[in-house]
């Protein structure tokens, strides 16, 4: 799922701190983000925009954090609105709904643990690339601005 890779250069102390914070941003927002998944995305997006002219290492990790939040937004929004429609509309709890919530929880938990792990590793200056998101970030985020 995650791979530790050699980065092009050794990032400075300041860079590792900022890159690590980009992951922490999504964790801090989790309290608000559970009922309103868009908040997580906005938090990481603001952080990315603030650092879009920063060094390659910082930009790369901000982008990976942002992309991972983007897909979680779809999963969580669907779960959120499905739950709302159960409460306010003419729908009942089905095995289909419970199964979706379980899968969404597992994906969220995996993302949560991976985020904490990555935040710690990044702080140490270790470059962590996630499955799919890392590859995607490599395509989107270029070394030269």
């Amino acid at each position: 799922m995650i791979q530790i890779k050699e980065f092009n250069y050794q990032p400075s102390e300041h860079e590792t701190e900022t890159a690590s914070s980009s992951y922490l941003m999504s964790l801090i927002a989790i309290i608000v983000g559970v009922p309103l998944p868009i908040v997580n995305l906005i938090a990481t997006l603001i952080f990315y925009l603030g650092n879009r002219k920063s060094t390659y290492f910082v930009r790369w990790h901000c982008m990976q954090a942002l992309l991972s939040q983007l897909s979680m937004l779809f999963i969580n929004s669907y779960a959120f609105w499905w739950t709302v429609s159960l409460i306010f509309k003419d729908e009942t709890i089905t095995s289909n709904y419970i199964a979706y919530i379980i899968v969404a929880l597992v994906f969220n938990l995996t993302e949560f643990i991976t985020t904490i792990y990555t935040a710690i590793q990044t702080r140490k200056g270790i470059h962590v690339e996630w499955w799919f998101y890392g590859t995607l970030t490599n395509i989107i985020c270029k070394e030269k601005l």
Partner: protein, 266 residues
């Protein structure tokens, strides 16, 4: 690029695959969703009925009660509804009203019976309320208006009697969503036709009550909680046209007249 497409596809497949696999398990049964909901409805319905019973006067006249019960029994029989699931109560009150509580309690005010021009009108309203019960509208409305946590706290004795009284008041004096009302109307017509009762008087009842000039307009609680009566009457007529059959009377004229007579005495 190829790598990312493969990884993306696998991730999406992993998500939907695990969703599909997990949903094969009967989670509703495992989490006892229905059992919990049924138990809450059961306790709540009994609580609410007790509150109404303590504040209003229940009609205990054996002829009236037996006649109304026989109507419900026949509707249930013709529509394969479990008779025990409907608990009918007649309350002595001038208001023209009938409403359903959770757990199948159906309250009919004497004012409604006295203001029905014929038995079919009353049977129509009863069918409409039974439809609300059978379609689980009552609990849905309560969850929407009050919230599940408040309802559960009511059944565990966590709320004061004022909240329970307020809930009973809300159920007796406010409407369901327009879509739920329509659903109950259509279902009521189905019930009536299965029981060989002409649905037209039910529609006429709505027309009659939508007329504000009517002498008893001030007591039309049921109609004020059921808006757009003309529109409803129209689609009831329209729908019943497609289901024409031969109609019969459920009660004999003597039985119906005796009920009216007995109720007038109160």
């Amino acid at each position: 690029m190829k790598k990312i497409i493969i990884q993306g596809t696998i991730t999406v497949f992993l998500f939907f695959g695990s969703w599909y696999t997990i949903k094969q398990i009967d989670w509703v049964k495992i989490f006892r969703v229905e059992k919990v909901a049924d138990k809450t409805a059961q306790k709540l319905g009994d609580f609410l009925w007790k509150t109404i019973k303590n504040t209003e006067e229940e009609n205990k006249n054996s002829h009236v009660v037996k006649t109304i019960e026989s109507i419900v029994t026949q509707i249930c029989k013709s529509n394969k509804i479990e008779r025990k699931s409907i608990k009918i109560h007649v309350i002595n009150k001038d208001e023209i009203n009938a409403f359903a509580l959770p757990n199948g309690h159906l309250i009919v005010y004497s004012g409604l019976i006295l203001n029905s021009d014929n038995q079919e009108e009353l049977i129509g309203v009863i069918c409409h309320e039974i439809a609300h019960i059978e379609l689980h509208h009552v609990m849905k409305k309560l969850v929407k208006e009050i919230g599940l946590s408040a309802l559960i706290s009511m059944t565990t004795g966590g709320s004061g009697s004022e909240i329970i009284k307020e809930t009973a008041r809300m159920l007796s004096s406010s409407a369901f969503d327009r879509s739920l009302e329509k659903e109950a109307d259509i279902k009521a017509v189905d019930y009536l036709i299965s029981a060989k009762i002409n649905p037209e008087p039910f529609a006429n009842f709505l027309y009659k009550l939508s007329d504000e000039e009517h002498a008893a307009a001030a007591y039309f609680k049921w109609i004020s909680t059921h808006p757009d009566s003309r529109e409803r009457a129209a689609y009831i007529i329209e729908y019943s046209k497609t289901k024409s059959t031969t109609y019969e009377s459920m009660l004999s004229i003597e039985t119906w007249e005796k009920v009216i007579e007995e109720l007038r005495e109160y």
